[in-house]
């Protein structure tokens, strides 16, 4: 190899590395791109599912829907209700939803879904802050007793004195009240517990502890209110949750004595309403039942999207009405191909062609890696069976491949039928796989089987599956996807890696095994 040759290669690699790194630095420094926002965020998909029997009469159901605030942003709200009309109104801090309908049949259902992006909120209470002598009238209402928040009850006053909550700064008082209420023994949710009962029992569920907290805080001269909401994720459930907010220096600061959050609101809390409210009110005798469904999914951070301003492919695809999944699949394919190259040229793992594992991984992005493996095995099985059936006919190459494709299609149809017959709906995912990719897979496997025999074809199949899984992990990394969307110049780095590997004469990992005699014993086997 001539020196000028390797110099040219080194220069190409240096350029391919320097240009994207320079672009990235420029974007970060001058254009306000943020690398931190490349990391995905958790989004919750939440649904209220309400079921009831209308008996052909009038039905009204009232509940609360979440509002946007500093903690949570609600989007993509959808309502599917069987013939009921949804009306909304704002009552104080709350968004009240009412479904009303006439001649509502039995087994009616309302499904109200939305998506939530939320942040953990942490507040610092100034340690020197004293309890102010008076509050604005709108806030002062949150000092008054309520039916189940008995601020003026002698027992509450006595308890406040006992824990020392009636003296000191705001922080000291809240700390003592918080400690006292969160130290109450837990109690499984059994309807409503008022403040005095929680105090007498020395135990409480979330609403008992929270009411006692509010009663004590109000008695201590700090405005406080109940907050109702949901703890998200963890599958379907019936329980809602209650915590409190105390008014400190112009802010409503959250506390959860039940789950021990002091001046903090965790990310997975969803606020639905404020005040001592009942989450559902409905027409009597309708056999009302409900559940809350929630699911956490990783999504690209909206901040990242907002910060990508130059050569913004994300916005471009949106304007063209092309799906986000297509964009990320396209951008990640070269990365997937690099993974394949690493496996083939550095590890020495045989695969069906260079692109096929990456294409399979991209296709599996829509269904999940497990389905990818299953579909490949299905195709390979169909090819093996069809080939066995065709062997005696000694057909020419191209017609054989066309018949193999028919075999693959039949296998997919059979899978769809099995999926329906046995109620395994998810099996139908197999048919979502791009048939073009499966056709290439079938051809490659057939060629390998014919040219190199079953052993080698089996090795290549195992290699293809392993590399597909590796490529899947890399290509489905949301952080990497957003990185490539914001910084498409990273693809130059991928090219640089390939230029390097294209000139790499090193020994493949598998060759250390193959030539172990030569390498480790200084002779043959």
């Amino acid at each position: 190899m001539r020196l000028s040759d390797s110099r040219r290669v080194a220069l190409a690699i240096a350029l391919l590395v320097a240009v994207p790194l320079g672009l990235i630095a420029y974007k970060l420094r001058a254009l306000g791109y943020s690398l931190v926002d490349v990391l995905p965020v958790t989004q919750y998909e939440v649904a209220y599912v309400l079921q009831f029997d209308g008996h052909g009469g009038d039905v009204r159901i009232r509940t609360f829907l979440p509002s946007n605030d500093a903690h949570q942003v609600v989007s993509e709200e959808r309502d599917v209700s069987s013939g009921l009309h949804l009306s909304q109104q704002v009552q104080g801090p709350n968004r009240v939803a009412t479904w009303a309908g006439a001649e509502v049949p039995d087994r009616a259902e309302i499904r109200h879904s939305f998506k939530v992006l939320s942040h953990r909120m942490v507040f610092a209470i100034p340690p020197e802050l004293a309890v102010p002598p008076s509050y604005a009238p709108s806030v002062a209402t949150q000092l008054r007793p309520e039916k189940e928040i008995q601020v003026d009850a002698p027992e509450v006053r006595a308890a406040l004195r006992r824990i020392g909550g009636d003296t000191g700064t705001v922080l000291e008082r809240l700390r003592r009240i918080y400690d006292a209420t969160s130290a109450l023994a837990p109690r499984p949710f059994k309807g409503t517990t008022d403040a005095v009962s929680a105090l007498r029992l020395g135990e409480g569920s979330c609403n008992g502890k929270s009411r006692l907290f509010v009663a004590l805080a109000r008695a201590a001269g700090i405005p406080a209110r109940l907050v109702g909401g949901l703890i998200l994720a963890g599958g379907p459930k019936k329980t809602s949750h209650q915590w409190v907010e105390a008014y400190v220096a112009g802010h409503w600061v959250p506390f959860c004595p039940t789950n021990h959050h002091f001046a903090e609101l965790p990310q997975h809390y969803l606020t639905l309403y404020r005040g001592d409210e009942t989450i559902f009110r409905h027409t009597a005798e309708i056999n009302f039942d409900y559940r809350f469904e929630s699911r956490a999914v990783l999504v690209p951070s909206p901040k990242a999207k907002a910060s990508f301003t130059v050569f913004n492919v994300w916005g471009l695809f949106e304007r063209l009405h092309l799906p986000f999944t297509l964009l990320r699949t396209i951008l990640m394919l070269p990365v997937g191909a690099l993974v394949v190259v690493l496996f083939r040229n550095v590890i020495g793992m045989p695969t069906f062609g260079t692109f096929l594992p990456a294409l399979l991984a991209a296709a599996a992005g829509g269904t999940g890696a497990g389905w990818g493996v299953l579909v490949v095995l299905l195709v390979v099985g169909a090819v093996a069976v069809t080939r066995w059936g065709l062997q005696r006919l000694e057909l020419l190459h191209s017609p054989t491949l066309a018949i193999l494709l028919a075999g693959v299609v039949f296998a997919l149809l059979v899978i769809a039928m099995v999926a329906e017959r046995f109620g395994a709906r998810s099996l139908a995912n197999a048919t979502f796989f791009p048939i073009a990719v499966l056709a290439i897979c079938a051809e490659r496997f057939y060629l390998s089987l014919t040219e190199h025999g079953g052993r080698m074809a089996g090795k290549e199949l195992a290699g293809t599956l392993a590399v597909m899984l590796a490529a899947y992990v890399v290509m489905n990394s949301l952080a990497l996807q957003v990185l490539l969307i914001g910084f498409p110049e990273v693809l130059f780095l991928v090219v640089a890696a390939n230029v390097f590997l294209g000139r790499w004469v090193g020994v493949r990992l598998s060759e250390y095994l193959r030539f172990r005699g030569l390498l480790f014993r200084g002779g043959g086997p």
Partner: protein, 301 residues
């Protein structure tokens, strides 16, 4: 301290051995790409094209009895072979011995006996020729079939393996022999000499033509695992001529890095069977020597 220097010496030895070995990446980048232009590959892949070059350059090859270059030529080809014994039918672009039929004696009932003992009728031969020209054995749209006189191997090779053909693989770099081995079929390999199919490799010393090592399925052996025939210390007949034939065959084509497959016919001596533009690397394991070292010894590194 002594342990450290020992470990360092070991590591140096290992790196040294690694440097003398050639892996696939190194073979492709430093041997195949610079020496073999892609447009010249057909000269190695198409046995008939190679034979034409060899004939022109005076390299001895098995005698071609007939070439069948289309469906129209099939009946004429079969006609010309009636009554003839001991020939081989091959696809021009076959690989790994696929599509090759070895034909024995012409029989009185108007058919031939095949190498395995089964019968080959004239219709059977017609069909096989048609399959070849249709590209069944070469994954192409079309191919040519050709018929060669069957080589009668030298007794030394017949003693290694009676039912098929052993060949001598000589790796050459710019027409200089670098390394060589005998490839012997086994029953396990289905009569094929390819090492990864279970064939046996016997290393031949380039300078003396004597066998000094044998490897079967990755294990060093001294005797044929099936026939029990001794494999080491054999002296190949006419070794200088074998090397000369390999040199001339390499020089006859523009491909610089080659595996030349030579058979030694009982009467005609060394004949070139075919050439390979990407010869395998297993020959290093058979010889117990890295290709890098072998090239340095041959003075072509």
């Amino acid at each position: 301290m002594r342990l450290l220097s020992e470990a360092r010496a070991r590591l140096r030895g290992f790196l040294d051995r690694r440097g003398r070995m050639v892996g696939i990446n190194r073979r492709n980048l430093t041997l195949v790409y610079p020496n073999n232009a892609r447009r010249d590959y057909p000269l190695a892949d198409d046995k008939l094209l190679a034979k034409e070059r060899f004939a022109a350059a005076g390299v001895p090859v098995p005698e071609t009895l007939a070439v069948c270059d289309g469906l129209y030529a099939v009946p004429g080809t079969v006609e010309g072979l009636l009554g003839r014994s001991n020939f081989v039918v091959k696809p021009g672009n076959g690989a790994g011995g696929v599509g090759i039929i070895v034909v024995g004696e012409w029989r009185e009932d108007g058919s031939w006996s095949r190498a395995g003992g089964s019968a080959l009728t004239t219709t059977g031969l017609q069909r096989h020729l048609a399959d070849i020209v249709f590209g069944v054995h070469s994954n192409q749209l079309e191919d040519r079939a050709f018929v060669e006189r069957r080589v009668v191997p030298h007794p030394l090779f017949a003693g290694l393996w009676a039912d098929g053909l052993c060949d001598v693989r000589i790796v050459t770099l710019r027409a200089v022999p670098v390394m060589s081995m005998i490839r012997v079929p086994t029953a396990q390999s289905g009569g094929r000499a390819n090492l990864h199919q279970g064939g046996l490799g016997i290393a031949v010393d380039l300078a003396t033509g004597r066998t000094f090592r044998a490897v079967h399925r990755g294990v060093s052996v001294a005797r044929h695992p099936e026939s029990g025939a001794p494999l080491l210390g054999l002296e190949l007949p006419g070794w200088p001529e074998v090397l000369e034939v390999a040199r001339r065959a390499s020089a006859a084509v523009p491909l610089g890095y080659l595996g030349v497959d030579v058979v030694i016919d009982r009467e005609r001596g060394p004949l070139v069977l075919e050439i390979n533009a990407r010869p395998g690397l297993e020959i290093q394991n058979v010889n117990g020597v890295g290709l890098g070292e072998a090239m340095a010894r041959a003075g072509v590194a």
